[in-house]
């Protein structure tokens, strides 16, 4: 039987001592999970190792931890895989981030994760009395929201959310994915109100920085960031919600700049975000106020050579930027926005034989289109 070493982050709140690392040798087949390894150490060596766990099959969402620094479910990663990604051959297991640690691998989910879930009014709010039978809704819409329904509330995405690290009040990936589950549900009668609320909240949908960490972290393919981007598109494009935080305007300015030049022109971005999405935006009083506000940052950038006056003032363009509008036109000419979805698949005969495992997660009608990304904010 192969042997593995687990290096577990221990914290015993009653001991009065700081957290420390402890190593445990275990013997298990390589295809058994890291959770099985932890449980063997717990059963045979030290029963005081704290970890929440229940189903062992990645459906209950209890055992969210960080393995070799990456968030995920302990039951969802094989020992041999974990060992191969370990820096020194020792599998490190530590509690998730962005949440207080209660004991060993157990974090206070209620203080952070669940509080944020409750923030998004997480229940269906249908208009009027329910029908006698079921609500009649398009088949696709139910399949569509099933992707966010697949969330098991494990907290892995919350653990490594960079925005939340900077802004602990950020509603965050799990809760916003949950919000999409209602916004995308045709039975819900409060879509505009929900979107307005999440757009106007300075810690809401425009607080995400597109780092993709939540998409990588999610063991269920929920792709929280994609759900956040969909909330933005529905809020901005479908409901015309222009928020006080300039999130929507910022996004529009971003698109315009990339469309015209192929590159982001930072000096143009903020004036357009605040003053309006055109060359004249910078003359708007709001843009002026923002410029004044940003002067210390600009000064610092120049001082530290993050930027030069020339780079700031000259337009940024890639050489063949004139081809860009075609890409945008092709996408914008579609009757319907194409959204990636885990559960929507293409007919069998179109499946390329060589498709790799990892790709099955995101293939579908949209496989031929570029991955879903909105302009950065």
């Amino acid at each position: 039987m192969p042997e593995y070493t687990l290096r577990i982050r221990r914290y015993q709140p009653e001991s009065g001592e700081a957290a420390y690392w402890e190593e445990f040798g275990i013997e298990l087949d390589g295809h058994r999970s890291v959770l099985d390894g932890i449980l063997q150490a717990k059963d045979r060596q030290d029963g005081s190792i704290g970890i929440r766990c229940s189903c062992r099959a990645a459906i209950c969402g209890s055992c969210g931890v960080r393995i070799n620094g990456k968030p995920g479910l302990a039951c969802h990663q094989h020992l041999q895989e974990a060992e191969s990604s370990a820096r020194d051959g020792v599998i490190t297991v530590e509690p998730m981030g962005n949440m207080p640690v209660v004991k060993d691998l157990i974090t206070d989910m209620d203080a952070v994760h669940w509080k944020k879930i409750r923030r998004v009014t997480p229940w269906l709010l249908p208009e009027g009395e329910p029908p006698e039978r079921e609500y009649i809704v398009p088949k696709e819409s139910m399949v569509d929201v099933t992707q966010s329904m697949a969330c098991i509330q494990c907290g892995a995405c919350v653990s490594d959310c960079l925005s939340m690290e900077v802004d602990p009040l950020f509603i965050g990936p799990a809760a916003l994915a949950k919000a999409y589950r209602f916004v995308g549900d045709p039975r819900d009668g409060q879509q505009y109100e929900r979107l307005k609320d999440l757009a106007e909240d300075p810690h809401g949908i425009y607080d995400c920085t597109h780092c993709f960490n939540c998409i990588e972290a999610c063991p269920k393919g929920v792709a929280p960031m994609s759900q956040i981007m969909r909330l933005r598109r529905i809020a901005g494009a479908d409901h015309g919600i222009v928020d006080r935080n300039n999130g929507h305007r910022h996004e529009q300015a971003f698109v315009t700049l990339v469309k015209t030049g192929g590159l982001l022109h930072e000096a143009e971005l903020l004036p357009r975000s605040y003053g309006g999405d055109s060359w004249f935006g910078k003359f708007h009083p709001k843009a002026g106020a923002e410029l004044l506000d940003s002067l210390p940052v600009i000064a610092k950038m120049l001082q530290r050579r993050k930027a030069t006056p020339k780079a700031i003032l000259s337009a940024h363009k890639i050489t063949d930027h004139r081809k860009l509008p075609r890409i945008f036109d092709t996408i914008e000419d579609r009757d319907k926005r194409v959204e990636l979805n885990l559960y929507i698949t293409q007919p069998d005969d179109e499946v390329p034989e060589t498709q790799e495992e990892g790709e099955t997660e995101s293939h579908g009608e949209a496989a031929s289109t570029p991955p879903e990304r909105s302009p950065n904010s």
């Binding site: 087949d29 059963d43 005081s48 209620d110 929201v145 589950r181 007919p347 499946v351």
Partner: protein, 562 residues
């Protein structure tokens, strides 16, 4: 000290449904669970929920399938109630927001399931249990003013007053070790099954029979405890479940010789015969040397169109990849029968009432009995919801007409001393985990798909020995914050009580019916055994055995073929 009209122990589907119904009836409600509600094992029910909702279908047909599936041990009055109320319950779930699969017209769509004469299983991909559980939790959050949630609280004992009425429970906060009396006019057990008595099992680590043992210790009758369902499709090493939905969507079973062996055992229903029938067929193939070297047969899902698999069986695509290293859309996966569900449990009437006044039970912890000797797939979610709802309504109704019972403060000290004594045990006996391991492995070999007197007597002896060893079993954790070790020791006691009752029932029932197959009594014997075996606590001796009749309304027992 928390005081409520209705205390609900366990926050899976049965518990949450009971809480919502009791709150709707105007009662004050506490729902308490040793895990966060969405971690409950209802999550694992992948395939769907049965209801005769389609105009072409009828509740009578659903009821008959259930009666036949139960091998005529199910109580037909209870089955009728469940099947009549099923359509309304599915619609209620839909109105609450469950994202049920739709057909092309946008109406609720169905899939086929084992033992059913019509496609009447409503589903959300293959995460139906998870979808239901999370939607009910949404409703629980919505009604937070009416329902107090106690998440991560562990019940150590139920309370009883001098008149024998259950008056609530003592529970330990897992987070800080504090003990608290939960005073209640009515208490509903909804704490799930006892699958951890077996190893491997499809059941989660939390399914340790807590409620069954707590009720039993209080004097509640247990019923049909010998009826343990082995699910036909579980992974060999770790017991992880492959949903029956796979066969519902058209997957086939093959032995190592490439033979679609169900032709021999159930020529009409084939892979979609009742679970007991399919599990026995597989085990026969394996025992007679036609299985693979790892003691398995093959489930071939490649028969199902690939895009359908990716849409409707997404979760088992993941399970195959993550837990067996198999792409189920391209190759067969090796499976075997594995412990999955306990049809037996705390004996209740159709309102969830037990023989202890003030104590109710609903869901897998209970035995109404709607499943009898064998539960049909997609009937367990239904059972939890219907009888959760009925228990909640009844308990709330009773609460209106009575005063809050007196508080049993002294019990806290008693429980505290008990817990302290476990923590303080010398390291002279065996580890708790060792005993648990021996119990599970033993049960899975001697009290499994095929049973006989010799094996069962051995099992009885071993359970007796383990019960003795348990008294001295030691743990490592001396702390109070998340001391899971000490809870594990208490759970082991619950499991051993359950195991003793399972074995006692299996020895007593000298026939083969549903999930109980005795190789020494291979025939069903309606003359002597068309009755329930009831067990009740008898001091520290073996459980006291009595019998109760099976309620038959309109379906006389017939020979059962698929």
């Amino acid at each position: 000290m928390p005081s409520h009209d209705v205390l609900i122990i366990g926050a899976g589907l049965a518990g949450q449904r009971a809480a919502l119904e009791a709150a709707r009836s105007g009662a004050t409600v506490a729902i308490l669970s040793k895990v966060h509600p969405v971690r409950s094992h209802s999550n694992a029910a992948a395939g769907g929920i049965n209801a005769a909702l389609n105009p072409d279908d009828s509740w009578e047909s659903h009821a008959f399938d259930t009666v036949k599936g139960s091998d005529y041990l199910g109580d037909q009055d209870a089955i009728e109630i469940m099947c009549r109320e099923a359509p309304g319950e599915v619609l209620q779930l839909e109105h609450w927001g469950v994202t049920f699969h739709r057909n092309d017209e946008g109406k609720l769509g169905t899939r086929a399931f084992g033992g059913a004469s019509a496609a009447r299983t409503y589903y959300v991909a293959d995460i139906t249990g998870q979808a239901l559980l999370h939607v009910l939790y949404e409703q629980l959050m919505r009604h937070h003013e009416q329902v107090d949630r106690y998440e991560e609280w562990f019940v150590t004992s139920l309370l009883q007053d001098d008149d024998g009425r259950c008056t609530g429970a003592v529970a330990r906060s897992i987070k800080d070790g504090r003990l608290e009396v939960f005073n209640a006019k009515s208490t509903i057990l909804a704490s799930g099954g006892a699958g951890q008595c077996f190893k491997p099992t499809t059941n989660a680590l939390i399914c340790t029979g807590d409620g069954i043992a707590q009720a039993y210790r209080l004097g509640a009758k247990l019923m049909d405890m010998e009826m343990i369902q082995y699910h036909p499709t579980t992974l060999a090493g770790n017991g992880i479940l492959i949903t029956e939905g796979a066969r519902g969507e058209g997957a086939h079973l093959y032995n190592a010789e490439g033979e679609r062996f169900m032709e021999k055992y159930a020529p009409n229903k084939m892979e979609l015969a009742s679970r007991d029938v399919v599990s026995r067929a597989e085990q026969t193939e394996i025992n007679e040397g036609r299985g693979f070297d790892d003691g398995t047969v093959a489930l071939d899902i490649t028969k199902v169109p690939r895009n359908r698999t990716l849409e409707a069986l997404r979760e088992i695509v993941n399970i195959g990849r993550d837990f067996a290293g198999v792409d189920i859309t391209r190759e067969p996966i090796h499976i075997k029968p594995g412990c999955h569900y306990i049809m037996g449990g705390v004996k209740t009437d159709t309102n969830g009432e037990t023989n202890i006044p003030g104590l109710y039970a609903a869901g897998e912890v209970a035995c109404v009995s709607v499943h009898g000797g064998n539960r049909l797939g997609a009937n367990s979610l239904l059972d939890t919801l219907i009888f959760g709802k009925r228990s909640g309504a009844h308990a709330a109704g009773v609460a209106n007409s009575m005063a809050m019972p007196a508080v049993a403060h002294s019990r806290v000290d008693l429980e505290q001393r008990w817990i302290d004594s476990i923590i303080a045990r010398e390291r002279s006996g065996r580890r708790v985990s060792e005993i648990k391991d021996e119990l599970g492995t033993m049960m899975n070999s001697k009290v499994a798909v095929f049973r006989d007197e010799e094996g069962l007597q051995e099992a009885k002896e071993i359970v007796g020995r383990l019960k003795g060893e348990q008294d001295a079993a030691y743990i490592d954790d001396r702390g109070t914050v998340f001391n899971q070790d000490v809870l594990g020791a208490i759970e082991l006691g619950y499991m051993l009580d359950c195991a003793e009752c399972i074995v006692t029932g299996a020895i007593e029932r000298k026939e083969s019916r549903g999930a109980q197959f005795r190789t020494d009594f291979p025939k069903r014997n309606d003359d002597d055994w068309l009755k329930h075996i009831d067990l009740s606590v008898n001091g520290s001796d073996a459980p006291k055995i009595s019998y109760s009749p099976v309620t038959i309304t309109q379906w006389e027992p017939m020979e059962r073929t698929y």
